[in-house]
Symmetry: C2
Subunit: 157 residues, 2 copies
């Protein structure tokens, strides 16, 4: 993997990024999926894909209260293995060079991944979902009700 | 604002969060909006709202190449004024207590905001969009083509 991570393809541009010290993240959980290498990880999650387990760490577990009211959840995770310096990329190795902000590549200045997953259930500190596309062990940084589905429940409902 | 930031409403739960040192973010730009206080900031952006300017910092500007092909863009930003410790919240002050992961509140362990904006144009290092709902001066952490609209363009198109 090392050679892949540090190579630059034809037409790509790597920059010297500033140090990533403007704000700090806390990992609030860990995502358990069936995929242990990039090669076997799907490019995009499918809502009929396998059930994955999102483990929430203390002290955040009470934050799940009420999530069961939603069918879809936005899952924000940290792509901890991605390089951060490629502003121009050649994703299909075909010379079609595109900027990082025109791609959903995991390689980006702040490698935050976002999937919309179908909520299957909640068991204690574990959220069961379908529709993820990340490696086993990926750090979790947030969960939110899907914006498409979100409307604040009325009092008493 | 200070009293609001440090007060806890009936039924809310503040925790002692771990230090946010698991990963570091770099601010890649700054968002310019008409809103300079929370009171005047819309709760949710509208795609017929005012044009806002997203300024991209060096060395990331080349990363905009190709973004003009998309009509909608996901804007990730850092809610730099939000507290991070409230796992149970009483958002409408009506006793309907909900966990942070069942809310799209800016108050969360990692205060990352996400809006889907309509792309109006790109002028040098500035991206013009409609549909934001953040304060003037908010730090930008990422831009991606909207997942709903995203399909990788074919070579030569």
């Amino acid at each position: 993997m090392a050679s892949e991570e540090f190579s630059v393809r034809e037409g790509e541009l790597a920059v010297e990024p500033p140090p990533p010290t403007d704000a700090g993240l806390v990992f609030i959980g860990r995502i358990h999926t069936p995929w242990t290498s990039r090669e076997e990880t799907p490019r995009q999650g499918r809502q009929d894909g396998p059930v994955c387990r999102i483990e929430i760490f203390d002290p955040w577990v009470p934050g799940l209260k009420g999530l069961e009211d939603y069918r879809q959840v936005e899952v924000f995770y940290w792509l901890h293995r991605a390089r951060r310096d490629l502003v121009l990329q050649n994703p299909r190795r075909d010379g079609d060079i595109r900027g990082v902000f025109a791609l959903r590549s995991p390689v980006r200045p702040n490698p935050i991944g976002l999937s919309v997953a179908a909520l299957v259930g909640i068991e204690g500190n574990v959220v069961l979902v379908r529709g993820l596309d990340c490696l086993d062990g990926t750090p979790l940084i947030d969960l939110k009700p899907d914006r498409c589905a979100y409307s604040p429940p009325k009092p008493g409902h």
